[in-house]
Symmetry: C3
Subunit: 348 residues, 3 copies
């Protein structure tokens, strides 16, 4: 497929700077791009590469106004890049049918044009939507529902009675619906509190490899529409994550914590249980969230506090040895003033 | 099944406040409970919901003495809730037999009434106890033993020569017996030290989804009776975790570290190798344990120190910018006293 | 197999202290060793056990000069131990062939003497090298290549178009080639940026259980020769890890970050995206790396700074409550000097 730079710019609502008739046949990274390809500067650090790339055009942000080659300037260059990359890379879905090496319960309801690979297991009374793809080793426990056009990558485990929406993507090794971690101390022993709730994953959610989402004790663990979760994240029982929120790798969210919509959580952050996070909150990497957090703010640190306060603390923290030295120094100087001549004092 | 509130109270060693004859047919979350159901206040935060719930009775702690509906008062309300939930939710085990799509080595010894799903692999000379359930995609390596009534959820991987006790629950994606992380530097190259030890998991252990437990270099990695581990935890080679200990999600325990009995480790905490933790120790979330820790105490922080010391440090830490400002201020004021008139000094 | 202590010492370039003719038939941990076995002191903490062990000989470092039993003294005792353990534990490879319960695409190219267990999936146009072992539940997506003598443990998922070198070991549950975590905000919604790059894993790499390695957006995520990664590590899109680097459990490496060769990363450390780490760098456990780091140094902390600076800060950090108290104290004392008699002042 070939498109002119001008056509691409129109498609992504951007502007051409320079020659708009250049023909583009693909997308490539800046170091590897060949003539006929378009590339993208992901990070201002790499601006110097603009003059070196062999690409025929470059997607850039609005603050780059000229170059020795055609530019596609955009107010949201990463989105423009994503849309153009989709244009060149998307392939139409082709149904593979149901492999004879898969196990499908006779009581499961199957949609049209599904793809079921070998070693898949579909339990009793499941409902599988149209054009769903289940890769090898996927297990769908009984009475679970998977909405149309969803993709479950290899070795995903879905426990019984889980609800998964439309266009959901679960990457390899994801576990949905495992028991929440609930024990009551009975003397020294741990009594297992049954986890009889479920998990509900709404439409357009994507979950990264080996992430785990526990079922609720009672009620539901809920990932709302458009939530995107990275790899190796822990979502505990009865957590609710609001629409379009983003959770980066290795985050841990404890039981019954609620995240608002459009929240962004940096990698390796942790949340205690039973806290509420407002909408549009940003939480820094490695933070430890121990309290409710109000909407529309950025927080960092452990305990997580407003990001600007945190940055002021970090500045002081890095100066701690100097502060400690100055403090001893001041103490000594002050003592000298308080007791002008220590030897004299002793003579009194 | 229906029980009167009075019967339930007797069963969990609690007291009825109000009408004891009310009939209870199930358990539900406080917002969703219907008449005829009992519910539970998990957290004092939710006390206000007591008057709103439609439940016919509520399990509460002893400090709640009255309400406009029958209460089941307990010294350990979470345990009472767990036991009542068990009563209403437990189903008798039904053996499924061995699916023809499973692979079972002819040299494996199989107990009575087992459930082996499709795509399960049972290696040579394994021993599988009575009423064991192996869900789809479970792999049990050769010469491993699984005790009676244990449940291995989908896609669990058990390496060869692993010993798993009775009534053990391994959630989906758990890996038991993978090689410990041991390399010796041979010049710049990493020489792999063989990991020829094993893993022993005692009775009544439960392990959360995608947690990994490495085999010992020599000897055994051991999880003792009643240990409960959450999701995505790393247990390295030669670790020993004592009876009834609890390890929350995403904790990492380095090689040869020993945890005593009845230890509780908060989420995302980490341990260096070769340290010993006493009995009844509590370790806060995100802590970094770098030394042996004595029994019967709580520790937090990185490095982990007694919890009360840690809390005092945090208070100061959050005041660091103020401290830094006051320190400069004091330094300036002190200089003024030390050199009463800087211009005068210069004139000398 | 039996070897004399003298033969073992020659093989690992060590020295015998005491009787060199003692026959050694195996290796065992210090508490469990029997006569005829050799053992190893892994950690100076355990030196006291030297006189208690029943082992016939002990591998020690050069600073231990005598004992009441034969010693094998080495400048690198852990390496000596590893090599001797290999000698006694390595078994010759035996090809198992292709199990009839595996799925192998007719367009896959298969090497000689491979071992393919039940429930394995090998996709179209894959290339599997000689003597490769694929354990149960392994899925190799289409057009992937696996080099000779590599071992993929149970339930490993390899996405399409991945390249895996020779003698690579992937432990159970590893995921290679899952989509990088890339979304562009399109208003409030998250637009998925296609991840059309690949992953390249070079020779002699070993990856721990349930670790995830994402494919590049464009181009390649690369793990160079001899890299060793522990369990539950996250390697994001377009990361490059240099030769012989070691990454301990639960580390998270964000997108496009580059690690040099021979880098060591402690457990639970995290990296922001787009930073470069030099060669021979050591990064402490739980660190948060936010900037480029120069070669040949040790760094710790969050933000990660040179290790010695970090240690000085920790010393001050642990004294923070004392510092705060002293600071208030000084402020009070200074005020007394500044205003010699507060009551007098008021009387003026």
């Amino acid at each position: 497929m070939k498109k002119s730079l001008k056509e691409l710019a129109e498609w992504v609502d951007g502007t051409v700077i320079g020659e708009g008739d250049v023909e583009i046949s693909g997308v490539a990274p800046i170091e590897e791009a060949e003539p006929g390809e378009i590339t993208f500067i992901a990070n201002p650090k790499y601006l110097s590469k603009l003059s070196e790339t062999r690409a025929s055009a470059v997607i850039v942000s609005k603050d780059i106004r000229q170059a020795d080659k055609p530019l596609l300037s955009s107010g949201n260059p990463y989105l423009a890049f994503g849309k153009i990359l989709s244009l060149y890379s998307q392939k139409p879905y082709q149904a593979r049918g149901i492999d004879s090496g898969a196990f499908v319960s006779p009581t499961a309801r199957l949609g049209k044009d599904i793809s079921v690979f070998p070693s898949v297991y579909i339990g009793d009374r499941c409902s599988i939507g149209d054009r769903v793809t289940l890769y090898p080793g996927v297990c769908v426990g009984e009475e679970s529902t998977i909405g149309e056009d969803s993709i479950l990558h290899p070795n995903v485990s879905v426990y019984p009675r889980t609800t998964i929406g439309k266009r959901v993507i679960l990457h390899a090794g994801v576990v949905i619906g495992s028991d929440g971690f609930g024990y009551a101390k009975d003397g020294k022993k741990n009594f297992k509190v049954p986890q009889i709730g479920t998990v509900e994953i709404e439409d357009d959610v994507e979950i990264g490899a080996n992430t785990t989402v526990d079922r609720a004790t009672l009620g539901k663990t809920i990932l709302r529409r458009g939530v995107k979760i990275d790899n190796l994240v822990q979502v505990a029982h009865n957590v609710v994550i609001g629409d379009d929120s983003i959770v980066v790798a290795q985050v841990g969210i404890s039981g019954s914590t609620k995240l608002g919509s459009n929240v962004t959580v940096g990698g390796q952050a942790g949340f205690v249980g039973h806290v509420s996070i407002g909408d549009n909150v940003m939480i820094g990497a490695q933070s430890g969230v121990m309290n409710d957090l109000a909407s529309n703010q950025a927080y960092t640190g452990s305990p997580a506090i407003p990001h600007r306060e945190f940055m002021r603390i970090v500045v002081s923290y890095l100066k701690l040895p100097d502060m400690k030295k100055l403090l001893s120094d001041i103490d000594r100087r002050l003592k000298k003033i308080e007791q002008p001549d220590a030897s004299e004092n002793k003579e009194k």
